[in-house]
């Protein structure tokens, strides 16, 4: 019944759908009941030059997409645990299969905020998120350091680049056991780290991590809210002018362009 392509992107308004579309980079944006940032993620894809493809959680096929974003929100109200129910959606099983190392190149998957929580619940990424140490929902501009620029979603950053993107969550405290944390550090899989004050008590100031292959990345802050001047975080050039999140989306588009063009001799080095 091909519902995925016919279902309008949740909340899409008619006038907003005509972006500059580059054929060849089709990036799925998953909507669960309770997903909130799907429109933002789709906009980020468009601004980065890709085509956003709406995906519905209940679909059992990924269709023709080159990468997938699991956006933020409160899927199923986060009533059990953040991301705990969404993980069992039919589409998540397909995503997990396609992203697994056994699937060859491995589908690039990005989880933002609730999407990151879903990816950890689905065991695509290690660790988990618990309630912020201050127990409140907190929204603000957050400085991050990009510590791994060899993933599909970070290749266009420079090593240790400092970026400012919004952070907004209630259950954002990253936790993992000591062995996992050690492994993450040893393998350089901490993709983003909080700089300045740790906003929520996350272990080792971890804001985002990657899987071993670098195709799956999750982070709590919101790069999709920092892609358009005038609507992002404040930066040195002015109010809401920050677009530091954009390279996350251009990274995957260019890495896809690279991989369709042929084997990548650089092996993902930035």
């Amino acid at each position: 019944m091909a519902q995925a392509s016919e279902t309008p992107l949740i909340g899409e308004t008619d006038s907003a759908s005509d972006g500059p579309a580059l054929d060849g980079a089709r990036i799925g944006v998953v909507t669960f009941p309770g997903t909130l940032d799907d429109r933002d993620a789709a906009r980020a894809v468009r601004i980065a030059g890709g085509t956003a493809v709406p995906l519905w959680h209940a679909d059992d096929a990924l269709g023709d997409v080159d990468a997938v974003i699991v956006p933020g929100g409160f899927s199923y109200g986060d009533y059990l645990r953040a991301g705990a129910i969404s993980r069992f959606a039919p589409l998540m099983r397909r995503i997990a299969e396609s992203a697994a190392p056994s699937a060859g190149a491995g589908l690039p998957v990005l989880g933002i905020c609730n999407g990151f929580q879903i990816l950890t619940e689905a065991h695509l990424l290690p660790g988990s998120m618990i309630k912020n140490d201050h127990l409140k929902f907190r929204c603000g501009d957050q400085v991050l350091r990009v510590e791994n620029t060899s993933t599909a979603w970070t290749a266009q950053f420079t090593d240790d680049e400092l970026i400012t993107v919004p952070l907004k969550n209630q259950d954002g405290q990253y936790v993992a056991d000591a062995a996992t944390l050690e492994q993450l550090e040893a393998e350089g899989r901490v993709a983003f780290r909080y700089v300045g004050t740790n906003p929520n008590g996350s272990r080792d100031d971890i804001a985002g991590v990657a899987n071993a292959a670098g195709n799956v990345v999750g982070l709590m802050p919101h790069p999709e809210h920092a892609v358009e001047a005038g609507f992002g975080p404040d930066d040195a050039t002015g109010m809401r002018a920050g677009t530091d999140g954009l390279p996350v989306f251009t990274s995957v588009i260019s890495s896809l362009a690279g991989s369709t063009a042929g084997p990548d001799p650089a092996g993902g080095a930035a």
């Binding site: 059990l80 645990r81 705990a84 129910i85 069992f88 950890t120 619940e121 290690p126 660790g127 988990s128 618990i130 309630k131 912020n132 140490d133 201050h134 127990l135 405290q173 936790v175 993992a176 056991d177 008590g201």
Partner: protein, 93 residues
């Protein structure tokens, strides 16, 4: 009608921010006898009909796979309990 009760607690080694906040609030209200608080979850699974071993096994499976996240939580108990409301007035209020 009996039901299955599942109790889930944060792992001992994981900080429980809610429990910590409660622990620090207790003395303010004059409750000084407690050194720590941990806050967990209790699930009540109702069953139509008898609770067989198979149903109980399913509950254990659900507790491990969905009701808890092994990274941060332990399932500390899965047991059968009588519904106290059944014995009483039948008032859910």
């Amino acid at each position: 009608m009996p039901r299955i009760v599942v109790e889930v607690m944060p792992k001992p080694e994981i900080l429980d921010p809610q429990g910590k906040a409660i622990a620090s609030a207790l003395p303010h209200l004059g409750f000084r006898g407690f050194s720590a608080v941990r806050q967990g979850k209790r699930f009540e699974l109702s069953v139509d009909g008898e609770i067989t071993d198979a149903v109980l096994a399913q509950a254990r499976e659900a507790a491990a796979e969905m009701l808890s996240n092994p990274v941060i939580e332990d399932v500390v108990d899965v047991r059968v309990e009588d519904d106290p409301a059944e014995a009483g007035a039948g008032n859910e209020g």
